[in-house]
């Protein structure tokens, strides 16, 4: 009996540590990607409702850590149906040709405590750019969560071309905030 209990405990412990090391995927309803842009100088908020992430993150093993986030751009939630259909169109995201935005990490760096820095590549609309994203890794209500924010410039990705290129009507800078609740 003792051996059975011991082996069950060992198996559970093994599974547990396995689970911790290979944490992958996110809990959708506890994760979010929101952003704030500016139109005519006034803040406008929006978010993406469908995205997926493969994240293997162990603070003690940064070299083995990895993150890939894929955002379904057609899931954008904006001020109105009209602005949503506009932003999916050719001059903005052109979702018909480029349905997803993809972030792929290349390296993690510890900044001390809960703070880390993720280097990686972001691809939107067929354009790939290198980025460094500061993030905080902590436990929120028992769930390991990576949170952070970054500023993107829409012209870097040709988001908003032609008449929309004018930064007076829609500003260049967009503040993006993310929260990824990792599956245990």
């Amino acid at each position: 009996m003792k051996y059975i209990i011991l082996s069950v405990v060992l198996v559970l412990a093994a599974l547990w540590s396995l689970g911790e090391a290979t944490a992958s995927g996110i809990i959708s309803d506890k994760s979010s990607i929101t952003f704030v842009g500016k139109q005519m100088g006034a803040p406008v908020e929006g978010r993406f409702t469908r995205f997926d992430a493969d994240i293997v993150f162990t603070p003690a093993k940064l070299a083995q850590s990895h993150a890939r986030v894929s955002i379904d751009l057609s899931s954008i939630d904006l001020a109105s149906d009209e602005s949503e259909s506009e932003i999916k169109g050719k001059s903005w995201f052109n979702v018909a040709a480029f349905p997803k935005a993809i972030f792929e990490s290349t390296a993690f760096r510890a900044l001390g405590g809960e703070r880390f820095e993720v280097s990686g590549r972001l691809s939107i609309k067929g354009i790939t750019r290198d980025l460094v994203v500061p993030m905080q890794f902590h436990t929120v209500a028992g769930v390991q969560t990576a949170e952070g924010s970054l500023e993107l410039h829409r012209s870097d990705f040709k988001v908003g071309e032609g008449v929309w290129a004018d930064p007076d009507s829609v500003a260049e800078a967009v503040q993006v905030r993310f929260k990824m609740a990792l599956k245990p």
Binding site: Q39, M40, G41, A42, P43, V44, E45, G46, D77, L78, A79, S80, E82, S83, E86, V163, W164, D166, D168, S169, V170
Partner: protein, 175 residues
């Protein structure tokens, strides 16, 4: 006929607000049908600025009205007519506050903060919520039709006083 008038501040506010409402109303209808473009965003912003200006002027106007007695109505008016006119004016005042408020609520619920003349950031009255945003849009529009109806009635009443009763009521709203 030399009769009492509203005081100059009340008269100025009446005509200034009437002019701005005519502008906000026309611009509102013009912009609502535009295709989404940078121009549309500009006109939306201007409409909001004019609307917020009206809101502030009307708040001040109501305070002014509450602290200054208006001239007595023409002696020839029946009690019922006096009451009806008071009621109509009250309804117009309420709409002049409710319309900018629902516009502001519509904008907040759409996730678009109102920044008055690109300088003063107004607080978001509600969080982003698309269903709520379309509801406030509908209310904003309906209240505008209600105001239009009342203003038509208002102008008809003023003309009736002028042309039928010949009591020179219009003079009360002239400097």
């Amino acid at each position: 006929m030399n009769q009492e008038k509203y005081n100059p501040t009340a008269i100025t506010l009446h005509w200034l607000v009437a002019l701005l409402i005519a502008i906000a109303f026309s611009v509102g209808h013009y912009m609502a049908d535009l295709e989404l473009s940078p121009w549309k965003l500009k006109v939306f912003a201007w409409h909001k600025w004019v609307g917020v200006t009206i809101f502030v002027l009307v708040l001040f106007r109501m305070l002014w009205r509450a602290s200054h007695t208006p001239p007595a109505l023409p002696a020839g008016m029946s009690k019922l007519m006096k009451n009806l006119s008071g009621l109509a004016h009250m309804a117009i005042y309420l709409l002049m506050l409710a319309i900018p408020l629902t516009g502001w609520l519509h904008s907040s619920a759409a996730g678009v903060t109102v920044v008055y003349f690109n300088v003063l950031t107004l607080p978001d009255l509600v969080g982003k919520d698309k269903a709520l945003s379309s509801l406030f849009k509908e209310i904003h529009e309906s209240l505008n039709w209600a105001l239009l109806g009342l203003v038509i009635l208002h102008v008809a009443a003023a003309l009736k006083h002028q042309l039928v009763d010949k009591d020179n009521l219009l003079n009360r709203m002239r400097w």
